[in-house]
Each structure stands twice: as C-alpha cells, then as structure tokens.
Symmetry: C2
Subunit: 233 residues, 2 copies
DNA sequence: ATATATTGAATGAATATTCAGCAAGTATGT
DNA sequence: ACATACTTGCTGAATATTCATTCAATATAT
C-alpha cells in the first residue's frame, strides 16, 4: 500500500531475483523453517568456521552471514551485536567442553586411575579435538588477556576441572606413595595437555593419536603403579 | 630541568619541548637524533606494549604511535604498513628467543643433561618469560593459523629447536637406556613448556618459579639417571 | 491479519594510509 | 662567518576503506 520512490523499482527487481534463487534449492536453511534456537546455533557454527579460517581479527559479520548462507543484517537480529555473538560462541564451546569431560567421568570406572585416564582420553577425543575447534579456541585465547569476559570462559580448563585434577593426583599419590607434590604434577599434566592442543592446532603434522600417546607416556611414567600403555591397571 | 615524557596526556607540551629537549640529555628519543634503527626499535617496543595491553584485534597504529610518544603517521613512515610493523615485531621476538636459548646452550656444560637443563631453565628466565612478552606471543598465536607469515615465525620453538630437543632426549636415552621413545618424550617436554607459558600468560597466580619447578619435576621423573631437583648430575 | 523472521541498502564510526609541508640537520658555495 | 640549496625525519590533516549497526521494505508463518 505504501507508495515508493522512483528508485525503488530497481531494488524490488533485485529482491525478486534473490527470492527465486532461494526457493530453488535448500529448504533447510532458507525459508522460515528454522526455529530461533536453530538459527542461533547455525550462526554460532558459522562463527566457529570463520574464527578457524580467518582468526579473530579478520572475522567479520559479513563472513559469518555468508557462511550461514544468510543475509547481512541477520546477526544483529538474532544476537544483538557482534560482541554478543562472540560471547555466545565461546560460551557454547565452553559448555560443550565441560559436558564432554563430565560425561567421560561418568562413564569411567570407580578407580581413581580410571578417572584420570578417562579425562586425558576425553581431551583427545574426535568430538572435541578437531582442528576447527582448536583454532577457534586459540582465536579467543589471543584476546582473552585483555577481556575479562573471555578470560572467564577461556580458562579452558576452569577452576572446577583444575581442582578435580589436583584431587585425583593427590588420591593416586596416597594410594601408591609417589614422592611428588600433587599440585605440581597436576599442573604439569594439564599444561602438557594444553600444549599438545596448541601444537595440534598449529598442525606440524602432529596427529591426535600421537598427542594422546605422549600424554599417556607421561601418565605411565609418573604413575607407574597405576597406569600401563593400554590403560589404567 | 630534564623533560619528562611519560605522560601521554601532555602530548602537546611534550611536542613543544622537542627543541629544548634536544639540548638536554634527553636526545635519545626526542629531537632528530634517533637513528632510523633506533626509532624502529622504539616502535617495535611500543607495539609489544600495545599487543600485551589490548590484544591483537585492538592494537591500532594510533595506540602504537601514542605509546612511543610520536605522531600518527610515524609507523607508515618507518614501516610501510601496519602489517609490516607486526611482522617486524614478531621477527624481533623470534630472534630474541632464539638468541637466548642459543646463548644458554653455549654456557651449559658438555654433558647432555646439562644442556637439557639449561634449555629448560632458559625458557623460564626473567629476560624471556615476562608477562608482557608472553601476552604478545599469545596475541600472534591467535592469528598464526590463518597467516602463513606468522605461522612460520610463531612455531615459537622452531624446527631447529625441536630437532635439538629430540636429539638430546635420544642421547640421554642411549646413555641410561630409558625405555621410552625419544620423540614422544621430546614432544611431551616441549608441549609442557608451551602449556606452562600459556598458563603464565593467563596469569592464575602461577609464578615463573612454580612453572619452572613443574618442568624440573618432569625432568627428574623422566630422566632419573641424569637429573636431580638441584640440577643435572 | 498479525506477528515474526529476513533482507540488503544506507549510515556512521573507527582507523589505516597518504601526502603536502615543516623543521632539524648537512653540504656547498661565497 | 654566512647564505643557499638539499636531505631526512617527522607531523597531522585529509582521504580511503572497512565494517558493525540500523531500519524500511518484504516474505513467510500462524
């Protein structure tokens, strides 16, 4: 009903094209099928892609939107700002990571050694340990020091995780009277896993399997009474 | 009577004093005395500051110029572009790091164990291992995967370093017939040191000393025939 | 019909880059 | 000594670019 200026005729023509192009193919992404939550998730995935491919500094909303096959303004509609999209993305990865190691802990046996083994294995699981996700983590790490919000979510292994590792190491020490300080060993172990992640991300031909093997070697060496190369005793 | 130039708020005042400053002892930075190389170095230091303080994404040429107490156009005059300034900065840090561990290796004794000990100690030396520099490294890490130029310089421990560590581990193994695979141990060791760096940078109250102690604990455990907590045997 | 999701052009803010000009030094001529 | 032209480091306003954000128009679903 609203009357349009002369210039707008062009615009309309352009839009018509875009629409008909959209109708032809993909129902899944185009069309209005997607729920709000689905669309948010789709945008988060596109953000991880962009972070992995281009790094934090080069990640633009345009790239995210393109990656999701949607239009330019879409992010500001579903998230309020770029900043909020990035925080939601980081939050998602942190939640996923935490859920993953918690699940691994559930499935592990009662024995302390089984728990430690399971936690280490979880870190090198295909689901978590992909180049794509490691690269996205690393993109955030680079910015974390100067942004409290990121820092809180980025201590990839958060306080709860770190406390757990320390407690488990202390338990192992008590069981077999190893001589080392539990906190020191726990620090060394988790630092090593982070370093292995980092190397995987940088991708010098290091594989997940080799990285896991290095971590296992460490376990066997430090906890000889509890671990073998094949698994916990 | 000396001119103080630490406060950026007084930019105008400082600029005015350029003339009189030349007369005083301040001619190192102000005035026209600074050689091209000196000025480049000054700008590189300001860049490290900015990276450490604001992260890669938030580092602007304006901030670098302000940090150096110079004018806006200065970076494009001495370096050609922002990109080239950043590469020069990374190159500087990589050179400094390499020079540092090479020097440590020189000073170390002939024994293989002394060399390994020295390399580990070098990584946690005050000169290299400051929060400022670790933060700058981390800023580059985040971007490295998507930029070949950075990636080449960022494998903080480069090919030469990695080969050296592997060779030393193999040597120790031969001397005392440890059972592990030298490459695996070398990987674990260097990954752990990188992880410790990372944690120091994130700064959860971890100190250089504690980090070094964790690395030493590892050496003692893995090479019991060669190492003690106090040093190589 | 109304509400909701989506589009994409327009806007504006941030910031890298350019460049004409200034000033401090230096060389040459008188 | 002094003057003149020339070089070099530097400045900062102007320009160009990139990109997040906004919003009116439009499409789709209920």
């Amino acid at each position: 009903m609203t009357v349009v200026l002369s210039l707008k005729n062009k615009k309309v023509a352009v839009r018509m094209k875009a629409v008909s192009a959209a109708e032809t193919g993909e129902n899944d992404r185009r069309g209005r099928k997607a729920s709000k939550e689905t669309r948010r998730q789709q945008l988060i995935e596109a953000t991880i892609d962009s972070l992995a491919k281009r790094g934090y500094a080069e990640t633009t909303l345009a790239d995210v939107a393109d990656g999701a096959g949607l239009s330019r303004g879409i992010v500001n509609f579903h998230f309020e700002s770029k900043e909020k999209l990035l925080i939601a993305t980081l939050q998602f990865m942190a939640d996923e990571y935490a859920a993953h190691w918690n699940a691994a802990l559930e499935k592990a046996g009662e024995a302390t050694s089984s728990k430690v083994w399971a936690l280490v294995a979880a870190d090198f699981d295909r689901k978590i340990c992909t180049k794509r996700k490691l690269a996205a983590w690393c993109a955030f790490w680079g910015e974390a020091k100067s942004r409290p919000t990121y820092q809180a979510l980025c201590g990839a292994r958060d306080v709860k995780y770190q406390d757990l590792i320390v407690a488990l190491c202390a338990q192992l020490k008590a069981e077999a009277s190893y001589s080392y300080d539990a906190e020191t060993i726990a620090l060394a172990l988790s630092a090593m896993m982070e370093g292995l992640w980092f190397r995987l991300m940088m991708g010098d031909g290091l594989t997940r399997e080799k990285a896991h093997a290095a971590a296992v070697e460490y376990l066997v060496t430090v906890f000889p009474g509890h671990m073998t190369h094949q698994g916990p005793k």
